[in-house]
């Protein structure tokens, strides 16, 4: 993130700045004095319309609606913080939060560990595009497709996975039908879809570590394991933080796979936050309450992102 703000200044002040000022002096056109503002307005106008109409206004309106009671039919009615008070006492909300957290935690642990392992394997034995392509394939599929594919493969009666489990002499698992398995199953589907993508991100980070670092370590007699813990992992930190942020923020917003397969059930086992918001706002037409829930989800994500960037120093690399 630091390079983001650095680059434009250097680019403009060195080459562009001097040339432009020279030209300004020659032509002396009036509006040049205020920079390229008029032209810039033309160039950003369409994006600005989209930005204001579909990002800024909805953000403000969403916050406003969270303080109202609104069922689409009438007008929103201001009720202060009543929605939030109700949420604090809402067992379904706390259940949704707990279930979502479980999903997030399984995803972080499983996905990051598997992806890190895969990236190291790729770094060692196979860097070919074909291998990377094969691993990336699930990520290119829609969540809906991943969900349906596994809904079939994990079917209790005739799914192939349960056939395999039975061959190993273990009892069949009701992946979608049992309360204790429903969330881990959703997390497994998500891990399957994202594992290769995350591995490629980490792989890119691995390749950025110069070979000289490893050479120095091996000259100093560092063993493979200690090289990994003391050199590879710390140098991967910016990438790992990025992966963590993306995984956590994405996982908190799980919706598609749940909506297509279990729809919140069995009982409340997969009623994750976003699905609960969807149900309150659209199935029960309670837009005020749904908006308040969405504000809370937004706050959670903002805090998570802040903590991760701040305390893990994700934007700084040790390679510089």
């Amino acid at each position: 993130m630091t390079t983001l703000t650095k680059q434009p200044d250097s680019g403009l002040s060195t080459v562009g700045g001097s040339r432009k000022s020279r030209k300004r002096g020659k032509s002396g056109a009036g509006f040049r004095a205020m920079g390229d503002l008029k032209i810039a307005l033309f160039f950003i106008a369409p994006a600005m319309i989209g930005f204001v109409l579909f990002y800024v206004v909805p953000t403000i309106r969403g916050i406003y609606l969270s303080f109202t009671e609104y069922s689409i039919l009438g007008d929103p009615e201001w009720i202060g913080i009543k929605n939030y008070e109700q949420i604090a006492k809402d067992p379904l909300f706390w259940n949704a939060l707990g279930v979502t957290l479980e999903y997030v935690v399984i995803n972080i642990v499983l996905q990051t560990a598997l992806a890190l392992g895969l990236a190291l394997l790729m770094h060692r034995v196979a860097k070919s595009t074909l291998v990377r392509g094969a691993l990336l394939l699930p990520y290119l599929m829609a969540n809906v497709i991943a969900a349906l594919l596994w809904f079939w493969m994990l079917d209790y009666q005739i799914g192939i996975v349960n056939q395999l489990i039975e061959w190993f002499g273990l009892p069949r698992v009701a992946f979608f039908g049992s309360e204790e398995w429903a969330i881990p199953t959703q997390a497994l589907i998500n891990t399957w879809r994202h594992m290769g993508y995350t591995a490629l991100l980490i792989f890119a980070g691995l390749q950025a570590i110069p070979a000289s670092v490893y050479e120095a370590a091996s000259i100093d007699g560092s063993k493979a394991a200690s090289t990994f813990w003391r050199i590879t992992l710390p140098l991967l930190r910016p990438v790992l933080v990025l992966v963590l942020v993306v995984t956590v923020i994405g996982s908190f917003q799980v919706f598609d796979t749940v909506a297509v397969t279990t729809q919140g059930g069995p009982v409340n086992a997969t009623r994750v936050l976003q699905y609960y918001i969807y149900q309150r706002a659209f199935a029960q037409q309670d837009f005020g309450y749904g908006s308040a829930l969405a504000v809370i989800l937004f706050l959670i994500l903002a805090i998570v992102a802040f903590i991760q960037m701040k305390f893990l120093r994700g934007s700084q690399s040790d390679l510089d």
Binding site: G16, P46, F54, A134, A142, I145, L149, I158, I160, V260
Partner: protein, 322 residues
Amino acid sequence: MTTVSSPNATTRRRPFQKNRPFQKNRPSNGKRPFNWRRATARILLGLAIAVSVLPFYWVLRTALSTNGSLAANSASLLPADFNLGAFERVFGLQSASDAIAEGGSGASINFWQYLLNSLLFSSITTAGAVFFSSMAAYAFARLRWKGRDGVFSLFLGTMLVPPIFTALPNFLLIKNFGLLNTMLGLVLPYLFMTPFAIFFMRQFFLNMSREVEEAAMLDGAKHFRIFFQIVMPNAAAPIATLALLTFMGQWNEYFWPLLVGSSEESRVLTVGLGVFKSQSPQGAPDWSGLMAATLVSAIPVLILFAIFGKKIINSIGFNGTK
């Protein structure tokens, strides 16, 4: 003349031998213990590839089976009772009675229409977002105006806003416009920009050489001409990558189309798939039909990946710092 095939066979075998990695890497005097590690690594990697790819074969195999024989042959590697009925069902080529006899719901599901809707939705939003975002990115990267960096940070900040948060008010807005269940309503929020597209293109423009632009500028060319005749053609490669990524993302979009597009003219494939699944007849779901539909929905992305695989793979790890 019949023995012609034998010399052919030997010539064909040669390149195959040359490519065997183990032969090449192994020193002539014997094995090093290190090889064991490489072998294990290869096996693990192979396993991961199998887990990533084989499910797609299983979908195909199921789609080519009939529902009646799936239960009895639930583990056979080849299609059980090979048959194209499932695909016919998906594309509405089967009569309702045939469909019900084969385990379908008999309800008509207009996949051609959904396919067309998905294509429209994805291409229109991709074209709009990529074009307008490139324009904005140019203003953020190359033009000098007051408040530029502040506005850019604001734009970038929207990447942090979760889609569900803006989806509720956006739904109301589209409803107020009277555009619910229309293609226009579906497309509108994505049409003008995506924060990622602006970020992506700006990063490219910042690193692009200024020389040609400077020369054109001295010749008196205006920014409009420079942008359309010099900058855009030079940015063809990143624009293609961005368009590809955007298109695939839009193709897979589910939540927004679920809220806004539930008429026949506005229902996209992902939403249609969900409907197909929930229409499954009581008792045994129409697995082969469902898998055929899933496969059909995946095919456009698979084709794009087959053609542009390298471009897509190389775009991963892009975070603007390189």
